[in-house]
Every structure is written in structure tokens, then in C-alpha cells.
Symmetry: C2
Subunit: 383 residues, 2 copies
């Protein structure tokens, strides 16, 4: 690789704790990249991590697209949270995405907060964070940036593009934007568009952040504040949508937390309350509130049918093979939405496989221990 | 009726606009009423409205139990919003709950904000609103207060108890608390317990309110503030749970609001965003934030199985007939939860009818134009 790569410090959470993130490279250094909004960006940073080794003819590269609050740290300790990578069960030595065979590239999305070009990056013109001057980006913009990264790496053809949820949206966008560059698609728990209910939950999350006076109209970094409470409520809302009713009943039911009887007050009497509060609070330490606004917006805007006229037109030029997986209890990206994509791909003559995995784990199932998923991906990728 | 009834002024919304509410009577005037929490209350106000005429032998009284944000104004213009009553389609002259035949009594729940004993009522000891000194109440406490109201009215036997959602919880509690006083039960879109997912969404709503600095630890009325933003986010969250994915898709889909293309910003581009923002904002003008905390808590605590040892023990003494209705797209109170109640009632030898109405309207279906529901209730009530 001829990329110039740096590792840089970025700050996280209310205390703005400094952490080194990387690898970071600058893209659009020759000419600006035009975004869907019409704005142009250049010399913008893209953070990514790679795992495995790129072979000589550069034919074993798999692009991994992360979800809304994911990042490039898929197979290693997260520099902010200290937790294991988010997809250690799916990828690694001997895993379905085998790092002995494939070269995995996992970039942080545009609008992200782990080093890629996002609202907390410093605007060179003002030497201040962009905040809300950051341009609204789309899933297609992120895919454009990913393509620029592939070009910079000299990778002509992707052995596969893989992603779940918002990562699946990116993977589907690759088929539409660069159909001849992708040999295989693996899209999990995803859809070709964000539904009204999806948009509704995102709007609640955004309103919760913006309702917090410490958000400061987006300028919290300059003002030395941090909208912890708003971001926490936002995360709690999203988190409930990632789990199924059954999963919540199985994990928590109506069990009480550290008590035998009700407090008759507003403490976290129930385990599920305590769990949600914890999810909200821990998110605050690792994620940027403005990033959350921008990335949720990108998902809301995603609609391949509207962008390309029809799904048939979106997928018409794709000649590779595709694996689409949904989960029976995923009410955020239900099987019906997955089937629309599968039917369109099949209608275009693509070699498409579809499975709905019976699971009570809800949307998050694609990140969890699902043996059926692993064996399906392993078989498909090895073909 | 020998009740002493008053009409009094209460204040609503950020501007604390004064509105006359009623009818209000004082209960527990002879001796205190003991709440589930152990607290005792006396001389507490209960607001209600009645429709139709109580017959001579007082045998035609139907108690109507309202939902979380409902109130006593079921068949007349709401004094705060100016909108029609919330159940005009179900009840009135010639309607399933026919005011030519039945005497409908609709009380505002304990913890409410339309005149019944709730956190914004004035504490006679301090001459200040109770705020968080208000005792946590339960569904059973509200039913105790309703029973006290029936006693005060001299009504020995209820021809029926009718309610949907939280109103259905009250109706089911009547069967457990006062089985010999109820001849017929109509319980719609409800359950014998709040599930982990139900609790989770309520906890998000409470956290949204409490995250608003204008909530002032519950003392906003004394401080001259009002947590409008928090209450609005809270309402938005709840509102999404009342609608089905399909209903949102049918009503709004991905349609844009007053524009042809995306704003590439955080305006309400989509109709569903605009609709939700409106729902949030209009709720602020009519509902008390602390009331919202208390009433959601009462629902969370509701669990007949835990309270009575088993559903069989809860319903064992009921000898009347019951109609239980669920709606196919209601994911908040799904059919499975309704069936648990039906099976328990049937197991106790009660005369129980159950129907799942095929509807895409979600939880709110019980409040909407559902001809199948109306004919089922009409037939059952007339039997």
C-alpha cells in the first residue's frame, strides 16, 4: 500500500479523554469528492483497520461495513472502551471471514467519530470543530469514500462486501454504485430503504440529543459542555429497538434489580431499567452526539428505489452472487424488507441466496452467536 | 347521588393556562385509604364524568377506565384541548355503549392531572404542589379509589367494567379485587402484566422527562419552569409504540413534508418526523410531566400473577362474563398476552369470549374506527 497513514489522537466523552485512533489516511487529495448534498470535500481523513494479508494479485480483499454505532475496530480491543472487537465471532483465524485467507478492510463511516471525516473533526478554515457546519452525508457518500480508499489501496475488485444493518445498506449501495467491482455481497439484517418506523425512532433519538441544553445547538465542544443526558436517552431508545420483546423477556422479564420488592419510587427497580440506563451511560463515553445526528440522518435518507428509479435499476448491472439474511424476531429490519431486496436481485438474474434465521434475539442477532449465520456466511464466502 | 361535587380550576402546560375541570368529589373522608405502598391518603379528590342516566335500581352502571394519557372526557369536548371526547365512536346514543340504556361513569385515574388526586394537586400541609412527595400509586390503588366512588354513588353492582390498554388493566384488577361486584368485563388491547419491553419504553419516557433541567427534580411548578422538551420526547417515544410499522408506512411512508427534496439538514424533512414533533408538542399543553412519571410507574408495577400468586387465583372468584379483544398489529400488548388472560379466565370457569381483530392500526386500534370491535362490544354488552 502506498497510502500515507497516520495515527492521531481524538477525544471522547464528557471528559474529552484523549485516545489514539487509526489508521488514518487522507482521501480526495487530487480533486474534491462531490457529496449527494452538492457539497464538495477534499483532503478528508478516513480511518480504517485491516486484518489478514492482501495477496499479490489483490484478489482477496473483503470490505466490511459497520453499523450505526460500530467502527473500524472489528477484530481488536477498542481503544476507547477496552472491549473486544465487535465481530470477533464472525471474523478471524478459521472464522467464516477467515483472516488466514482474506484481507479484511474495515473503514469508519463518513460522519463517524473514530477518525473518519465527521462533525468533530477540525475545520482547517476555522481551526474549530465543524459541528453542524459539517455537511450532511448519505450512505452513497460513505460508499464513494470507501471506493476512494480501495482505489488508494490499488484494489480493483472486491472479493466481497459484507455488512449488517447500516453496514448492509452500504453493501447494497456498492452493488448499485459500483456493480462491476463487487464479486460477492453479504447483507445481514438490512433493507433497501429506511421505513417510516425506522425514521420515527431515529427522529426521537435526534430530538432527545437536541433537547439537551448542553448540546448547545451543536457547539458543545466549543462550549465545554456535553449533552450526556440527551445522548443517553437517545441510546436507550435505539437499544430497545435492537432487541426483541422475547429477548427482553428472556433476559430480564420482570425481575427486580438488587431488591426484593418495589421501591415505590423512580429508582431502577427492574433489571431492564438498570440495564438500559447502563447502556445509555456507557454510550456517552464512546460516541459523539453530533456524529449520531449525522449518521442516523444518512440512514433515514437511504432509499435505493428512490435514488435509482427502482430496485431493478439499482441492481441491474450486478453480476456477482449475493447472500441476504434476515432474523425472524428483527422488527426493525423485518424479513419483508429483506425479501424485497432478494426479489429484486433475483429479478435481475443475480445469483442470490436468502435465509431467514429463526432467532429470538431481534435485530442485534447479526452481531451475536448465531451458528446458522456463521455456517451460511462461511459456505457462501468459500464458494 | 349524595356526592358533594365541585368544579375547580386546574392549570395546564408551560403557560399554566387555567381551565375548569370536574366533576370533582372528595373520597376517603371517613377513614384513610391505604395504598399498596403503605402510604395512607384521605380526603382526596376524584374527578369523573357521567353520561346517561342511572336507573332506579342502579343496575345499569358501566365503569369506563381510561388509558395512560386519557381522562374523564370521553364523550364531550375536552376542556384543555377543545377536541371531541376520546371514545365518541364507542359510546353515546345508539352506540355499543349506549347512553340511552346505560349509565357510564368515567373517572380520572389516581396520579392523573385532570382533577383526580395527582402530583400537581396542592398538599394541604405545605400549600405547595405535592410534586415527588406524591405517593407512588398502583393500578390496584386506582381501582380502590374507583370502588370508593361507586360506594359513594350507592352503586352496588357494576353492569360492566370496560377499558382498553391501561384501562383494561384496571378492568382486570376489578375482577381480582372485587369479583362479586362486576357482571361483565370488556378488556381491550391489554394484559395482566407489563412486559420487559413495555417497562423499557416507559423508562425511556421517564428518563427523557427527568433529563430536562426544567424538570427541576420534579419541582417545576414551584420554580416556574416546565420540562416541555423532555415531555415532548417522552410522548414521541410512546406514540411510536402505539402505531404499527404498517400503519406508519400507510399513513406516511417516506413522504416528504412541504418539500420536494431533502434539506440535507435536521429539519423535519419527512412527514413522519413532522407528525411526531407535533404529537410531542401538543401533548405538552395538556399533560403534567410528573403525572406521566407516576402513571407509567403504576403500569410497570402491574402484574396480577405476582400480586395474587397466579392468574387462576386472581380471577378465581369472578362469576360474570368477559370479552377480551386484541389487535393483530398491536406489538405493545400482543395477542399472546391477551391469550394468557383468556386461558386463565376460562380455566376458572368464567364465561369468556376472545377475539383477535385483524387490523394494521397497532395498539391505538381500540380507540379508532374498528367496526368489528364495535359490533363485538355491542353484542356482548346487550346480552
Amino acid at each position: 500500500m502506498s497510502l500515507k497513514i497516520t495515527h492521531e489522537k481524538r477525544s471522547f466523552g464528557p471528559a474529552q479523554r484523549e485516545v489514539e485512533v487509526g489508521d488514518i489516511t487522507l482521501l480526495a487529495t487530487d480533486k474534491p469528492m462531490r457529496l449527494d448534498s452538492g457539497a464538495e470535500i477534499s483532503h478528508f481523513p478516513m480511518a480504517f483497520r485491516t486484518y489478514g494479508t492482501l495477496n499479490k494479485d489483490k484478489s482477496n480483499a473483503i470490505l466490511i461495513c459497520h453499523g450505526l454505532t460500530g467502527d473500524q475496530y472489528m477484530l481488536e480491543t477498542h481503544p476507547v472502551t477496552g472491549k473486544p472487537g465487535w465481530w470477533e465471532q464472525m471474523a478471524g483465524k478459521g472464522k467464516p471471514l477467515d483472516t488466514d485467507k482474506y484481507f479484511l478492510i474495515c473503514p469508519n463511516v463518513l460522519g463517524g467519530c473514530l477518525g473518519s471525516f465527521g462533525p468533530k473533526e477540525i475545520n482547517p478554515n476555522t481551526q474549530q470543530p465543524y459541528n453542524l457546519d459539517f455537511p450532511v452525508i448519505t450512505i452513497r457518500d460513505t460508499v464513494r469514500a470507501q471506493k476512494a480508499l480501495m482505489d488508494a489501496m490499488g484494489i480493483e475488485i472486491l472479493y466481497a462486501v459484507v455488512g449488517g444493518s447500516m453496514g448492509g445498506m452500504q453493501a447494497l449501495e456498492w452493488l448499485a454504485s459500483y456493480p462491476e467491482k463487487v464479486q460477492r455481497l453479504v447483507a445481514l439484517a438490512t433493507a433497501s430503504r429506511h421505513t417510516a418506523q425506522n425514521i420515527a425512532f431515529h427522529e426521537i433519538g435526534r430530538q432527545a440529543i437536541m433537547a439537551d441544553p448542553d448540546w448547545q445547538q451543536g457547539n458543545y465542544l466549543n462550549k465545554g459542555t456535553f449533552p450526556s443526558k440527551g445522548l443517553s436517552v437517545s441510546r436507550m431508545t435505539a437499544h430497545v429497538t435492537y432487541l426483541s420483546d422475547d429477548a427482553l423477556a428472556r433476559k430480564f422479564g420482570r425481575e427486580l434489580q438488587d431488591r426484593d420488592r418495589f421501591s415505590y419510587g423512580f429508582e431502577a427497580d427492574f433489571q431492564v431499567e438498570s440495564y438500559l440506563r447502563y447502556q445509555g451511560m456507557s454510550f456517552v463515553d464512546r460516541f459523539d452526539p453530533n456524529s449520531y445526528l449525522y449518521i442516523t440522518r444518512a440512514m433515514d435518507y437511504f432509499d435505493l428505489e428512490a435514488d435509482y428509479g427502482s430496485l431493478a435499476q439499482a441492481f441491474g448491472a450486478f453480476k456477482g452472487s449475493a447472500l441476504m439474511v434476515s432474523f425472524s424476531s428483527d422488527w426493525l429490519f423485518p424479513t419483508g424488507e429483506a425479501k424485497r431486496v432478494v426479489q429484486a436481485l433475483a429479478g435481475c438474474g443475480a445469483d442470490v441466496r436468502f435465509m431467514e434465521i429463526d432467532s429470538d434475539k431481534g435485530h442485534d442477532a447479526f452481531l451475536l452467536d448465531e451458528p446458522e449465520l456463521f455456517s451460511a456466511v462461511k459456505g457462501f464466502i468459500a464458494e
